[in-house]
Symmetry: D2
Subunit: 188 residues, 4 copies
Amino acid sequence: MTETVDFPEFDPRSTSPSGGWLSAAQIREIRTQLPIVYVDAVPVRTDSVGDVIQVGLLLRVTEHGQITRALVSGRVLYHERIRDALLRHVEKDLGPMALPTIPASPQPFTVAEYFPTPGITPYYDPRQHAISMAYIVPVRGDCAPQQDALELSWLTPEEAMHPDVLSEMAGGQDVLLRTALAHVGRLA
Amino acid sequence: MTETVDFPEFDPRSTSPSGGWLSAAQIREIRTQLPIVYVDAVPVRTDSVGDVIQVGLLLRVTEHGQITRALVSGRVLYHERIRDALLRHVEKDLGPMALPTIPASPQPFTVAEYFPTPGITPYYDPRQHAISMAYIVPVRGDCAPQQDALELSWLTPEEAMHPDVLSEMAGGQDVLLRTALAHVGRLA
Amino acid sequence: MTETVDFPEFDPRSTSPSGGWLSAAQIREIRTQLPIVYVDAVPVRTDSVGDVIQVGLLLRVTEHGQITRALVSGRVLYHERIRDALLRHVEKDLGPMALPTIPASPQPFTVAEYFPTPGITPYYDPRQHAISMAYIVPVRGDCAPQQDALELSWLTPEEAMHPDVLSEMAGGQDVLLRTALAHVGRLA
Amino acid sequence: MTETVDFPEFDPRSTSPSGGWLSAAQIREIRTQLPIVYVDAVPVRTDSVGDVIQVGLLLRVTEHGQITRALVSGRVLYHERIRDALLRHVEKDLGPMALPTIPASPQPFTVAEYFPTPGITPYYDPRQHAISMAYIVPVRGDCAPQQDALELSWLTPEEAMHPDVLSEMAGGQDVLLRTALAHVGRLA
């Protein structure tokens, strides 16, 4: 999960289409009452025949000072299409010149169910129950990490599967990364 | 969308895991602020080699007295896995003896994005922005329509594609049904 | 099926890796003994968020002088990867400047089973039993029809679904086109 | 690859629809000239909500006396539908009481490209270039290994992912197994 500002549209003074009287306490309450819709994007570099040659991982520092690697991830907003959310989050994390190819099909390669309780699925998010549709997103342009990401590293599938790299991913995103590489035929 | 009681877990006196102080007004408010996670299930009868020979459609009467045909559909609850939600909704609509085969893979065949505004996608739900992961669900047992469904009708793919049948489906579920039949190779 | 020269590698004087003593009669015989591996590609134009806005259809004249519309289609050669076959056939039919995005994943959106006997599946090929893995292929560049194609026409999904257009497609490719549009969420 | 008798339909005295004059030498020749169509099936046991709890692996002895574990795999015959080939191979390897649920959709979870040259893809078959569409096949009944399989072992996803088990699989089927477990959300 890469979002730092998660529920901007609940700002009572600006964007709520219907009055926006939910308080911060109520927002926290909603997160304990409803699954929240997310998208995960796995940025990849492909060669001329579509074969994945590199996968992009964001390097971040958590609020506890720990280094983590992460996929592009974020919430789908009210009245936002999945493909618009995918582009928004990719551009937010990789910059406006990334030139991503958003998938033509809405069919995700998997759905990651992040539970606030560990062990129910491979995915875990202490803040919420997030249901995240995950997509492979080839990017052709120049990527510049934005906001809170320190660095974007491009790794070969073999490098990305290294236990040291996988151990730096949180919330089960190592499983999601391996699932993505399986989907593109690059598990080995 | 087949749910008649949509947000039972918000009942302040019973099931809310965190106190449940959201009122009915607040529930309506949430629906204007967040996309709601749904599943759609297309019940099918298959032959011994998996070929779809019939699709099950629910016959319902809307609050305005109109006859409609519908797929099995409903919300994913907080802290509920997608596969548990699928089983719950199939059993709710088809009865406890339906013997559904819930898919092994979380990959849906499509994602239907129901917008409260018509025309943005083929899917429309005036009440909310619902994001629905759609699955084919073979059923082997006896189906008995439950709750508000008058009847369950089993139609061949050819019958289900008839314009008269498709015109009785609301909110774009005719498109979802045709997408399902395309996915199982039974568009023609 | 768009191939005009179908079994070039059987040329006894050139490309057979093991001696190539199969005669033309033997080649015809093979086609009555084994299913032949094909790929079908549905060329599409997408907008910045991946939504399909146009689909490309090849206009051809059959050996009987009939006008037909066709998808990009062709055989996978011995020792050729599927993704290499996809690129080769797209470039053969759309020209070298088409800039196709070959899918990262080997998972096809469907498999079209062309039988020499009509009615077993929606797909029919009187010459052979062809098993064709079908992929959506976005193209970004300039397309120039090659070889025996008279014209490449770009149609909106709505135009492509018109009965007049679908009726100009042979061998069940109208079903394949509709299946493709279903897969990308553009059936309606 | 689990087939022991691979090209029975080439028997010149019985099943060839067109005369069947191909000799054994010619059959070997075909295998060096054309990719051969295969299916791979991953037999699984699922719980009531479709979650994979066990995967079935065949224990075999190779012609060199080595113990190997294998998935269900075999060729698609001329004029045979993929779903018929899947059922035939599952029944051949697991027995007639396995009660498999052949997938409703022809969309495989991946396509394994077995090359006669190692290193081009993760999949290798020294005999031929086989293109294998791979499917998850839940089985509900009693399985009895047939023919040349010594034993059928049911392993949990965790057991099946153990390096000792994976190392007993040949031709890249360990990669295919892990890809299957990724697809059903059981990679971890």
